[in-house]
């Protein structure tokens, strides 16, 4: 594998609550290579968003992060002030879920894209304007010149998300973090954004950390996937292998609970018993054990280690799925 672009080790995030603090990310390790789309999958409360907010210093006030996150030879978790601001946008760009609220409603599109260009690349106004138009073209927005003068409310959700991607790429980062970028969009619009992200990463050699609960979206674009549950990574691996041969009971259960339109309509939808635990109430031992069909005695006591097997890794001593 080529040199890793981002290496996260033992990442832990704690949030303050009445009478103490709770752990929302509990010892997470993963590696993102160059020019790779790394998918972070998980349901609500799995800690997937908090783990990336920690990387760019956007955790809520009072939250603490520990561990290491190496990017370009720096430890992201130790950055402050100027160094942190330089990385945000300049090294790592971020796209959020809701394009309705992630763009500034009172500034023109041009102003919003030009700001990071001028700030991080030091390009004067005329040059920044030209680059902004190029970026809008790169994200396939029709009539970029006119779009630069327009305001967010004049665009549809899909177009706004394209603008958000353009802003995130304005300062030419090497890594793009996209947190549920298509969840709020219609399926045909989503298809456009997925293809766009794929095209952009090929054209620019970009790495993408794609966070989503939608395994279909993951399947279309991710190269490797990490599955989060209750603040821990339970499984990682290459996309096709992981989705076709899951090794962790949660991954398998999640796949079974999803509708697979490529299969006949009467293929059963198997719900997972119970609900994902709230961060304050994570079960002892393996966090998934109360909902697991394959649990053993040991599962309620010992937190399983992430075991590596070639390109795959999974945190389950049971490994009930013998590969065919």
């Amino acid at each position: 594998m080529s040199t890793p672009l981002l290496e996260v080790e033992e990442l832990r995030v704690r949030l303050p609550v009445r009478g103490g603090s709770i752990s929302v990310v509990d010892g997470v390790d993963y590696v993102v290579a160059e020019s790779e789309v790394f998918g972070v999958a998980g349901e609500s409360g799995s800690g997937k968003t908090m783990s990336v907010l920690a990387l760019i210093g956007l955790l809520p006030s009072g939250a603490t992060a520990s561990g290491r996150a190496s990017f370009r030879g720096l430890d992201l978790l130790a950055l402050r002030g100027r160094a942190l601001r330089d990385i945000r946008g300049g090294g790592i760009g971020m796209v959020f879920q809701d394009p309705m609220t992630s763009l500034h409603p009172m500034l023109s599109i041009g102003q919003q894209i030009e700001e990071p260009i001028r700030q991080h690349l030091g390009v004067p106004r005329a040059g920044a304007r030209r680059r902004a138009a190029e970026l809008l073209d790169a994200v396939r927005l029709p009539d970029p010149e006119r779009a630069l003068r327009a305001y967010p409310h004049q665009f549809s959700g899909g177009m706004r998300q394209r603008v958000a991607i353009a802003i995130a790429l304005a300062a030419e980062p090497e890594l793009l973090i996209a947190d549920e970028p298509t969840t709020a969009l219609d399926v045909t619009v989503q298809a456009g954004i997925i293809r766009l992200l794929d095209a952009l990463r090929r054209e620019r050699g970009l790495s993408v950390v794609l966070i989503t609960h939608d395994l279909g979206v993951m399947s279309a674009i991710a190269d490797r996937i990490a599955v989060f549950y209750a603040g821990r990574v339970v499984e990682t691996g290459p996309r096709d292998d992981l989705l076709r041969h899951p090794r962790h009971p949660y991954t398998k259960a999640l796949l079974d609970a999803l509708p697979h339109p490529e299969l006949p309509a009467d293929h059963p939808l198997v719900p997972i018993a119970g609900t994902p635990p709230a961060p304050a109430a994570v079960p002892e031992g393996c966090a998934f054990h109360p909902r697991c069909d394959h649990r053993l005695e040991a599962c309620s006591v010992v937190v399983p280690e992430l075991v590596h097997d070639g390109p795959r890794a999974f945190a389950c001593p049971v490994d009930p799925f013998v590969r065919a």
Partner: protein, 329 residues
């Protein structure tokens, strides 16, 4: 006789800027007993407006809605007549569709016929809660003590209290996570079978509709463009929009197949395109499509489609594919 019959329904709204537009511009639909019909479409297609008009929350501007042979009268200040309470609605957002200050049992009991004694009412509430997979002690609790999936089940129990023959569900799974979605989807299938209940399931999630519905109707910009049995429609869509929708759904199968892109954007419902509303984005557009609106017509076994590709006179015309919106799209 169909349980619910919607004929040429039109629902018009007036926007803030005084522009009037037809959210539903002439839609027809029929649902039989015990049938699950999925109504799919993207933002702005009018499916929610259709759902609200179907139960009488919004008055139609044209067309008729008949439930069990009787016209559906829009809600007035008076209490709804007993026969119309057999037509129920479940909302999308389980966090706002239950009163935060009333106990679950009280809310579920709202629909139970007046005249049932107190103990009878309690027994029925318990029965309904268990029917949707919740324990009987839920009735003394408040909505905020439950998760989204559980709240949605409470909303379904409340609708069931009126002993309905048809329930309209407006995006019932959209706010839920994967486990809850599967639970509620299975519950709906189960209830439909057990109680011979008809369902009109409005959703933008084609994958779930494919799993749950017997019949699927596809809506675009206020009109129904295709309708048919789920498997048949999925395997062989007859309308270009249906084809595009199905192609855009990503599958979690690990193959890395990219979803299909539909070029262009949904037009402003206040200014729909002339002729076929889909024509500016259609890969098979012909001259007639730009001027005349195709009617929704039967094309074979229980299939309806509104497309000139299936009209005999259109077959002889040459098809001129439109240039894509962006060269690299």
């Amino acid at each position: 006789m169909s349980v619910l019959e919607i004929d040429s329904l039109e629902v018009t709204y007036e926007r803030r800027d005084r522009a009037r537009f037809r959210a539903v511009a002439g839609a027809s639909l029929a649902i039989g007993q015990g049938e699950i019909v999925g109504l799919v479409g993207e933002s702005g297609c009018g499916k929610s407006s259709l759902a609200r008009a179907a139960v009488g929350l919004v008055a139609p501007t044209a067309g008729t809605i008949r439930f069990e042979g009787r016209p559906v009268v829009p809600l007035t200040r008076r209490a709804r007549s007993a026969d119309l309470t057999r037509l129920q609605l479940v909302f999308q957002n389980p966090y706002s569709s239950l009163n935060p200050r009333r106990r679950v049992g009280d809310q579920v009991g709202d629909g139970i016929a007046v005249g049932t004694g107190r103990s009878g009412k309690t027994a029925r509430v318990v029965e309904l809660l268990e029917l949707v997979g919740l324990s009987s002690n839920a009735r003394s609790r408040y909505p905020h003590e439950f998760s989204g999936g559980q709240r949605q089940r409470i909303a379904i129990a409340r609708a069931l209290a009126a002993d309905p023959s048809l329930i309209v569900l407006d995006e019932p799974l959209a706010s839920l996570d994967a486990s809850a979605q599967a639970q509620v989807a299975n519950l709906l299938l189960d209830l439909s079978q057990r109680l011979s209940l008809s369902l009109l399931l409005i959703s933008h999630d084609l994958a779930i509709v494919h799993h749950v519905a017997d019949v699927v109707s596809v809506m675009y910009l206020g009109k129904i463009v295709e309708s048919g049995a789920t498997e048949a429609l999925w395997a062989d869509p007859q309308h270009p929009y249906t084809e595009a929708l199905i192609g855009a759904v990503p599958h979690p199968d690990g193959t890395g197949t990219m979803p299909e892109v539909l070029p262009g954007e949904v037009p402003d419902p206040a200014m729909p395109p002339r002729g076929c509303r889909f024509h500016p984005r259609c890969p098979h557009v012909m001259d007639v499509c730009r001027t005349d609106e195709p009617p929704l017509e039967p094309i074979g076994e229980s299939r309806l489609a509104a497309c000139w590709l299936h009209a005999p006179e259109a077959r002889n015309e040459s098809s001129m594919p439109r240039a894509p919106v962006h060269p690299r799209a």
